[in-house]
């Protein structure tokens, strides 16, 4: 919301526009009141050194076809010469001349510059160069009747001003007007505000434009006022100046007054040419499906049954209620009688219509936030007063319409504010009289009742309904900066849950193993899960930004494979990444079956590397799982992968990515991968490991190599050796795997080193021989033969 200081000053004198310190204090007060000042822009100051100059004559030079020699008088009677590229000026015109030494807004300094050895003594300026308008088609032509030698801003009638650009929050529709901002600021400053001039008399003969509200749940109030003696012309300079400074383009006196009233009091309004209003009456109804209306912006809109229409006496649409008027009933130069509409529409209806048509107007922005339903009388009175300035014969007719429906908010609403609640919420101990005074200053009048204060809630504050809303008003006016600072001291202590600590440990272990953390997008293209070899159903976003980001992932693998592919294409191979993130498989429950998953991808590594990572994670978390290589899992390398199972739970997969999937993701390296249900692992209770005293007796090593068929997993031989060695086995290490022609096809040699120790004494040669035999016997039972 753009708020002009000069306009605020009409309500109460807050600060001189030239007083930088006072302006800064206002900005600070506005922000402290919750009207955040995003920018403070000085306006209308003009460019120093640019003066009005009379064009004496314009000449061409035979050797410089593109420029003209312009002779001007800058008010001192002296003829000056400037070169000029534009040609829209002639003798007698008044133009802005940037004199020598002028610092232009674009950073240039005007210097004596010559063409063909003839110096230019300044520069004639366009509207763009001075920041006056966006016309760069020629030199800015000033009012010829003015004198030469004046600052051009004086000729234009612009005055220095300050514009505050406010970020008005959604709960403050009243501050979409200068009145609302002035009211808050005056309350903070302890000022009274004066309302602007209004005309309340209706001296003209009764003349009505009757209104019939059919859609009463959408339009709660609709008034019409007939004004005759209208002469459509240009607005007085101060109105044009004020609108321009506030960022609105002046059009004509009627439209300008309409806009001025809206910016000043917050009430949108619309003036119809009464002669163009068939039947001289208005109906407010819902559109029928497919009905059409061309709005003021020239767009023909197809309506539906949820759109609210303002229609003429013949039921033809003339406006989209609360959003924009129709093109046909617009004010024209021949208009002499207008019907002024001031109405109140229900916010939600306007919001939905504006959203549906992508049509956000100044009116809809106000209505959808909530206009004061009872500011209408002031708005009409102000409209008449302002239009009278440019229409001396203006007559306001008695007997207008003021139709209301049941959905009109009550004018007086109240809430009870308990003193105990106020101080409990704010942590203050405010003097009750001061509270009463602060509230009264913003129109929240109150009377003491047994419980505290009964506070009237003004009609311009639709956001206020309950006690807590009044508490906030007190806090705002008191100033948040005046609220103390304490730190609550409760009988609690902060801690991570076991699962949260274990999650951190997983990250530490992975980083220690050289794996880096990635955060891929959880949204995938619809076919990406399938390309990753994953066939299950997935959920989708119904309103995605792009279809490539519409599928909710059921696995972290596609995102990580894309990351590997990206890195490989940027000459980074062998990248190791992990992600801890959520997957969202469908479910029949209230919410999807959201899971926390850990995935690790190791580019350029074979399956055992992923198993090694899994072993480290297991060791860190004190968990484990069976590797089931008989069911490798979807999208996984069929002969180099396993599923991870704990009892009946499927925890995940480990191994290598299927070569076809790698090709689909344009990854040329092998990729070892681990993907597990981290939520399940973290939820396992943390087992505290009991300490075992280290035995001080000597240990002996026993090396054994076996031949074993490829079909039999090494894990079975390991298990057999553990059983055979029994309690005296300290560690078991598979130190060599060998396949070769000498062994024959389909077999490999597995060499183990067993470290043996008896904590109670030394092992004798006999003990070791017995253990050895037990190991060999066990191995033979699963089909292994000693080499």
């Amino acid at each position: 919301m753009k708020i002009l200081l000069s306009w605020l000053n009409d309500f109460a004198h807050f600060a001189d526009v030239d007083d930088a310190e006072a302006v800064a204090a206002i900005a600070s007060d506005l922000t402290s009141l919750g009207l955040a000042v995003e920018e403070v822009v000085p306006t209308g100051r003009g460019v120093d050194g640019v003066v009005s100059a009379r064009v004496l004559r314009v000449e061409t030079h035979p050797d410089a076809a593109k420029v003209r020699r312009v002779w001007v008088d800058a008010g001192d009677g002296e003829e000056r010469h400037v070169w000029c590229g534009a040609s829209n000026m002639g003798a007698g015109d008044l133009v802005p001349l940037a004199t020598l030494g002028t610092a232009m807004p674009d950073g240039r300094t005007i210097e004596r510059r010559g063409i063909l050895g003839i110096d230019s003594e300044g520069m004639l300026c366009s509207g763009v160069e001075l920041g006056v308008n966006d016309d760069d088609g020629g030199i800015l032509l000033l009012d010829r009747s003015a004198d030469a030698g004046l600052p051009y801003t004086e000729v234009l009638g612009t005055r220095p001003d300050v514009l505050f650009d406010l970020d008005v929050t959604r709960n403050r529709p009243d501050c979409w007007s200068h009145l609302g901002v002035a009211r808050d600021l005056a309350a903070r400053r302890g000022f009274d505000i004066a309302m602007p001039t209004m005309v309340s008399e209706r001296l003209g003969a009764p003349r009505s434009v009757p209104v019939e509200i059919i859609a009463g749940d959408r339009c709660a109030r609709f008034t019409t006022t007939v004004l005759s003696g209208v002469r459509v012309t240009e607005s007085p300079a101060w109105i044009r100046q004020r609108l321009s400074a506030a960022g609105m383009r002046p059009i004509n006196n009627v439209v300008d007054v309409s806009n001025l009233v809206m910016l000043e009091l917050g009430q949108p309004n619309h003036a119809y040419d009464l002669e163009q209003l068939a039947g001289e009456s208005i109906r407010v109804r819902l559109a029928s499906d497919g009905e059409r209306l061309t709005t003021l912006d020239g767009v023909e809109r197809t309506l539906d049954a949820a759109d609210l229409l303002i229609c003429d006496g013949e039921d033809r649409p003339i406006g989209l209620g609360g959003v924009m008027g129709g093109l046909d009933s617009e004010i024209s130069e021949s208009t002499t009688v207008v019907a002024l509409e001031t109405a109140w529409f229900t916010p939600r209806g306007v919001m939905e219509t504006a959203a549906r048509h992508g049509l956000r107007s100044e009116a809809s922005a106000r209505y959808e936030r909530g206009v004061d339903p009872y500011v209408i009388a002031a708005a009409v009175g102000r409209f008449i007063a302002l239009l009278s300035e440019s229409c001396p014969d203006l007559v306001a007719h008695a007997g207008g319409a003021d139709e209301r429906s049941a959905s009109l908010p009550e004018q007086t609403r109240t809430a009870v504010l308990r003193g105990s609640v106020l101080d409990r919420v704010l942590g203050t101990s405010l003097d009750p009289d001061r509270v009463t005074g602060m509230l009264a200053a913003i129109g929240f009048d109150s009377v003491p009742v047994e419980a505290g204060l009964e506070v009237s809630l003004p009609s311009w504050r639709p956001d206020c309904a309950a006690e807590i809303d009044v508490v906030e008003e007190v806090a705002r006016l008191h100033g948040y900066e005046n609220i103390g600072r304490t730190v609550p001291r409760a009988d609690v202590f902060g801690h991570l849950s076991p699962a949260q600590r274990r999650r951190r440990r997983v990250r530490e272990v992975l980083v220690g193993l050289g794996v880096s953390e990635a955060m891929p997008n959880p949204f995938l293209a619809p076919d990406e899960l399938e390309r990753a070899g994953l066939s299950g159903p997935h959920l989708s976003i119904t309103n995605p930004l792009a279809v490539e980001e519409s599928a909710l992932r059921t696995s972290l693998r596609p995102g990580l494979l894309k990351a590997l592919s990206y890195n490989e294409s940027h000459r980074r191979e062998g990248v190791a990444l992990f992600e801890i993130g959520h997957t969202y498989p469908p479910s029949e429950e209230e919410l999807p079956d959201e899971q926390e998953v850990l995935a690790v991808v190791l580019a350029g590594c074979e399956a055992p590397a992923a198993v090694a990572v899994w072993d480290e994670v297991c060791a860190a978390l004190g968990v484990g799982a069976q590797l089931d290589q008989s069911s490798p899992g979807e999208g996984m390398h069929p002969t180099r992968s396993a599923t991870l199972r704990a009892g009946r739970d499927l925890l995940g997969v480990v191994g290598e990515v299927h070569p076809a999937v790698l090709a689909a993701f344009e990854v040329s390296e092998r990729v070892a991968v681990l993907e597990v249900r981290l939520d399940v692992l973290l939820a396992r209770s943390e087992k505290v490991v009991g300490a075992t005293a280290v035995a001080r007796t000597p240990s002996s090593d026993l090396d054994l190599a076996f031949l074993l068929d490829d079909e039999v997993p090494a894990e079975r031989l390991t298990k057999a050796l553990r059983q055979g060695a029994g309690s005296r086995l300290v560690s078991l290490d598979l130190f060599d795997v060998f396949r070769g022609d000498s062994l024959g096809d389909g077999r490999r040699s597995l060499a183990y080193r067993l470290r043996l120790q008896d904590p109670t004494g030394s092992l004798t040669d006999g003990d070791i021989a017995t253990i050895r035999q037990a190991c060999v016997d066990g191995a033979e039972r699963i089909g292994a033969t000693l080499r």
Partner: protein
């Protein structure tokens, strides 16, 4: 006899003097002092000397000879050992700058680093960490937070909806949470007050990515619900966090704002030591309707809540020029940190 001993001694000393290595020396010592060594052999002959005086004298010579040989051997061993270590040291010279940096350490994502740093500061302030699902119900994300159906503020969230339909529910009621605030509701519904939690997490908006926005980003939410919690507690907690996280030279301020789920509502700004301000996040006293939606009586319990972006903390700390860089997963970016 004494002459034999002297000869044997001199031979031993000569052999020790010329021994070239510790191993040679060990052999020399064994040859002369060992069980079958020259001196040992002579020692065995001492017993056969008949004359007591002569025997005594020979014994003294033997003793002196052995002592001399042992002393010489020790000295020689020390000098030979030093020389061997010197030789080994000279031989083993390495240029330590000749190594190639393996870069074997992995790197945590900078958003995770910011997330954990924030958690740590709040743990120190007495908060625990709460979590909630990323796909949420309309009720938890909006309704319970005082944004009923049709509430205008809903429009500001640019919500992404999911095609999951709960049993007996309707389409369009499942969404990707637009903020971490639904965790407030879940915490109040499952945990008895006093509640002192922060809820960091991933949130989603239908926002076109640009240098400062991502449709998927991270927030941290704080919630305190206890007896007698007031706005001074909110202001004091924000200030304590500011100093703990940013440093003692930083301070904070609250200024009025609007959120449907808090009242009074505030924006909180951080003032840097150079005096400049930075808008950090939103906060306020938990709205009585929200306390009620959490199953608690607002006449008995009050609280405050706050929230702000985690990604921005990472961006600010490391001077990341474009927030999208953090989500490309380019290892050249990740491994910087």
């Amino acid at each position: 006899m004494t002459q034999d001993i002297d000869r044997a001694r001199d031979a031993a000393l000569e052999a020790i003097r010329t021994a070239g290595s510790v191993a040679d020396l060990d052999q020399v010592v064994a040859d002369h002092l060992g069980k079958r060594g020259t001196l040992a052999t002579l020692k065995k002959g001492l017993g056969s000397i008949g004359d007591p005086d002569e025997r005594k004298q020979a014994g003294a010579s033997m003793h002196a000879a052995r002592a001399a040989v042992e002393e010489a051997a020790d000295e020689r061993r020390a000098s030979l050992g030093d020389a061997e270590i010197d030789a080994r040291i000279a031989d083993e010279r390495l240029d330590l700058t000749e190594h190639r940096h393996a870069g074997s350490r992995g790197h945590l994502h900078i958003v995770t680093q910011a997330w954990e740093r924030l958690e740590d500061v709040f743990l120190g302030l007495g908060f625990s960490v709460a979590e909630g699902p990323e796909v949420e119900t309309d009720w938890h994300n909006f309704e319970a937070l005082n944004m009923g159906e049709g509430h205008p503020a809903r429009g500001e969230f640019d919500t992404l909806f999911v095609d999951h339909v709960p049993p007996g529910g309707s389409a369009g009621s499942t969404l990707l949470r637009t903020h971490t605030s639904p965790v407030q509701i879940r915490t109040m519904l499952t945990q008895e007050p006093p509640i002192y939690v922060v809820a960091p997490g991933r949130v989603f908006r239908r926002d076109t990515p640009d240098a400062t926005h991502m449709p998927v980003f991270h927030q941290i939410e704080g919630l305190v619900v206890d007896r007698g919690i007031s706005m001074t507690d909110l202001a004091g907690t924000i200030e304590a966090f500011t100093k703990a996280f940013f440093g003692s030279g930083f301070t904070s301020r609250l200024r009025p704002s609007y959120f449907p789920f808090t009242e009074p509502s505030a924006e909180f700004d951080i003032q840097r030591p150079d005096g400049s301000w930075l808008e950090l996040g939103g906060c306020g006293m938990v709205h009585p309707e929200v306390i009620r939606a959490g199953g608690l009586d607002p006449e008995e319990w009050s609280g405050f809540a706050f929230g702000f972006g985690i990604d921005r903390m990472a961006v600010m700390r490391h001077g990341v020029a474009d927030i999208r860089d953090m989500y490309v997963n380019d290892i050249r970016f990740i491994e910087q940190f």
